[in-house]
């Protein structure tokens, strides 16, 4: 198919399908053909559902033929990160321990996508159980960066970002626990939106760290992210932590402009090991907002440096607990053994990769009797301080502008030491600890042509302002596509 279709975007494709300019089946077949042609080298998908996708597309076309409206995502081919469960479609969280597991139910976000007419093409690669920042920790195969196959796409939602960048899905779902949507979006030059905690139901999101996890969209434009969030957001009785608010109306904000908007530059996000090219690009983004009528202010988030240590207590503690269910008894991989304890040990030793084991160990240690006060509770106290930092900043400004990542996409194997890898998320973690929304938007490229992403952080439940400012940056910096895929059939 024409690359034009592959990059037309979700909103535009839905418009064409509803206008009968293209059928859902044609679109689906075209994207499936692109996946078959290009994904072998890229590694964005762990499973492609040719049959299921075509069947769903037939239904959408039948609805249109019958004069019914299939919904705002009519016929739009999407991909879903493999930590989000899909009924009847193998879901592994990129872990060997869930090898071949077929969920009997859909995540709420997936059910809402389907109900809006979207076609699920398949399941997207990621770091195992969403633990990683490079997609190198997938239990199956790494995913590459479409801009440079020698570089990582970021993580954990690497496949979700790479698929959008390479035109292998019109939009995708990812999850973000400490930056897992925004960091890969920045590395791959796409837009990624981490909603306010509780905005999107976690029902069906395989838990990594329950108090931090959020499902969110990745797409080629701010508009498409806004559209997807409108579809998947809203209270869900099956998730007790979902916020009792209807889905927000975001698309009107796309054209609202930023006149009078107060934008904060948090001092702490421009210090330390920040790559000068990234710093310059983000400052240029600030200037672009000023040109469009916004007001720029420096603000301070004094507890920022505690975000990483607090995160690496809370997230592993919750992960160790959430991953206790992978015991070989009811589903997934089962190891051998003459008695119960041995079966547990071999199941988990064989099924989990090294990074997952590392975090289970850290989390188990942190929750031991007598350690809880010193670690988990202390980290929760730090969390409260970080949240207060944001609350105070948002008394002065409407939105914060920061780099998404300290550098552009790094090379495969470059960050072998766990701590180096953890530092790749240093600008994105605080957002999850505070539960606020964040948006990563492309703002140009390095001299070597790698995408750079700016991050916008907003008040809880104020995704509207993120969309407003993000759309302005998009107008200023445009969108770029990796030439190797943009030019391909």
């Amino acid at each position: 198919m024409s690359a034009e279709l592959a990059y037309a975007g979700a909103a535009e494709l839905a418009r064409r399908v509803r206008a009968r300019e293209v059928s859902a089946v044609e679109l689906t077949d075209a994207f499936l053909a692109r996946i078959d042609a290009h994904d072998g080298a890229l590694g964005a998908y762990l499973a492609v559902d040719h049959e299921g996708a075509r069947n769903r597309a037939l239904i959408v076309d039948a609805m249109i033929a019958a004069g019914q409206d299939p919904g705002p995502l009519a016929g739009v081919p999407v991909g879903v990160k493999d930590v989000i469960v899909t009924e009847g479609l193998v879901t592994t969280a990129a872990s060997r321990i869930l090898d071949g597991w077929v969920p009997p139910y859909d995540a709420t976000a997936v059910a809402r996508l389907r109900a809006a007419g979207a076609i699920v093409l398949g399941k997207l690669n990621c770091d195992e159980f969403a633990m990683g920042s490079s997609n190198e920790r997938s239990g199956y195969r790494p995913c590459q960066n479409p801009w440079d196959l020698g570089r990582v796409p970021g993580g954990s939602s690497g496949g979700s970002a790479a698929a959008v960048a390479a035109g292998l899905a019109a939009a995708t779902l990812g999850t973000d626990t400490g930056g897992s949507i925004r960091q890969p979006a920045a590395f791959c030059g796409v837009v990624g939106l981490k909603p306010t905690y509780g905005r999107v139901s976690r029902w069906g999101a395989i838990a990594f760290a329950s108090s931090l996890d959020q499902i969110g969209p990745l797409a080629g434009s701010v508009e498409d992210c806004a559209l997807l969030l409108e579809v998947i957001a809203g209270a869900d009785p099956r998730d007790a932590t979902s916020i009792d608010q209807p889905a927000p109306s975001l698309r009107p904000a796309l054209t609202a402009g930023v006149a009078g908007l107060k934008v904060g530059l948090p001092r702490e996000y421009f210090e330390g090991a920040l790559d000068p090219e990234v710093a310059a690009a983000v400052r240029a983004a600030g200037d672009a907002l000023v040109t469009a009528g916004a007001e720029l202010r420096e603000v301070t988030l004094p507890h920022t440096r505690f975000a990483l240590p607090a995160y690496y207590v809370v997230a592993p503690a919750e992960a160790a607990s959430n991953l206790a269910r992978y015991d070989g008894v009811r589903f997934g991989h089962r190891g051998g053994g003459r008695e119960l304890a041995e079966m547990y040990a071999t199941t988990r030793a064989e099924g989990f990769g090294p990074e997952v084991k590392r975090r289970i160990m850290i989390g188990t240690y942190a929750l031991r009797a007598g350690h809880y006060e010193a670690y988990y509770r202390k980290a929760q106290q730090v969390r409260a301080l970080i949240k207060r930092d944001f609350d105070q900043a948002f008394e002065e400004v409407d939105v914060l502008l920061t780099p998404t990542t300290p550098t552009a996409a790094f090379a495969r194997g470059e960050k072998a030491a766990p701590l180096d890898m953890y530092l790749a998320d240093v600008f994105t973690l605080a957002c999850n600890l505070a539960g606020i929304p964040g948006l990563a938007v492309p703002v140009g490229a390095t001299a070597s042509g790698l995408p750079i992403g700016a991050q916008l952080l907003g008040r809880a439940l104020d995704e509207v302002t993120l969309v407003r400012a993000g759309a302005e940056l998009e107008r200023a910096f445009g969108t770029r596509r990796p030439p190797a895929y943009e030019g391909a059939a």
């Binding site: 869930l98 329950s210 932590t241 607990s321 589903f331």
Partner: protein
Amino acid sequence: MSDLATLLESWEPVIGLEVHVQLACESKAFSPSATSFGAPPNSLTDPTVLGLPGALPTFNAHALELALRLGVATGAKIRARCRFARKHYFYPDLPKGYQISQYDEPLCEEGGIELWLGGVRKKVRLQRIHLEEDAGKNLHHGTASLVDLNRAGVPLCEVVTLPDLHSAEEAAEYMRALHRLVRWLGVGEGDMEKGQLRCDANVSVRRRGEDRLGVRTELKNINSFRFVHRAIEHEIARQVRILEDGGQVERETRLWDADAGVSQPMRSKEEIADYRYFPDPDLPPLAVDGPTMRKVITTMPELPVPRLERFMREYGLPFDDAALLTDDRERADYLDEAVRAAGDGALARPIASFMLTELLRVLDGQPIAKAPVAPAALAELIALVAGEVISGKIAKDVFAKMCASGEGAQHIVDRDDLRQISDEATLRGLCEELLAAHPRQVEQYRAGKDSLLGFFVGQLMKATGGKANPALSTKLLEQLLAAT
């Protein structure tokens, strides 16, 4: 165990109980599956019960209301906001690898359960009542182990006492009182055979007069009222013998084996698990709101112990009768309703005694809800006896007819002409005829064989089909026999 009785003169048992009460909810604590008993294995499951990846818990508000009823009834302090915590351990019947329970912020603290022990009223103090979910069940078939998760996620509350109990009898009586209270409040069915009430006991002994507690053991798997007594008595005896022999009791968990009548060590102190409790991030803090509390408080019934005392005070019932009639709430309600229908407090005692004899005999172990005679109908019958319209003996026959046909007492008495003959002239005539017919016995009586009075009364009853007023008949016969 008379030697134990002797030993207990110098040793004092100290017992605390942890009882799991299954709450009478239609659906599970954190998901929509049903909670019925005896369903095919693993049929009452859903993604949450199975602990499937991506599944989440949402709390069943009905469980909160039921636990609050128990909290209010025991006078506990209720937390306006409490938290669920995850309790971690690996076992095949625990699908998530953790149980959702409560740890440092239980729903209820303090309070107590009142009971009568050997004629003395006692309050067993509670430490806490918390909410949690049940685990599933492992079934062992030869070398294979199977898991049934029907019970997994069933809502429970755990009722924990302070170490306020001092004998196996007291522990058993506490269990009966808790069982009664749970059923009384509609909090649970409390059927121990179905595992709806399960007891773990912490047992220690110390020299009488000693303040410090001895080393305790925890007994698990006590699943009938009889075993509560037996298991605890066995454990007390075991500990006393160890200490008498100069040994030391080991801090351990022991499993009660009902078949063998002994307990076996399950795990020692060193192996006591670290449950790695922490607040469950999937569940927001549980808030007890005003309307829920108001509903619980305004619908709180009169509790068993105050009701027992009222029955003694207002109805003049002896303790044993009052205790039997407050053993379950429906019985007590039946009595109150019958007394209300009779409109005469003086009838309470005869109504109660008729219930305890005739009605319970007819019910033959069935609950009073199955009573074939409504409270008002029974009151009508007892009023006929009290008004000397019929005799107590005829009343039993009338009652049998009421049970069989559902007809009213007055109607049966009228139709079958069962009115007592209380007219003195009529009775006197009947008595004179009787004496004339039995001259030999009259002679013997008059010669001093007093016991023959019974013979005459019996003959009179026979002749009247039991309708002769017994008191009046006896009086008249005595007069006629004495006269001469």
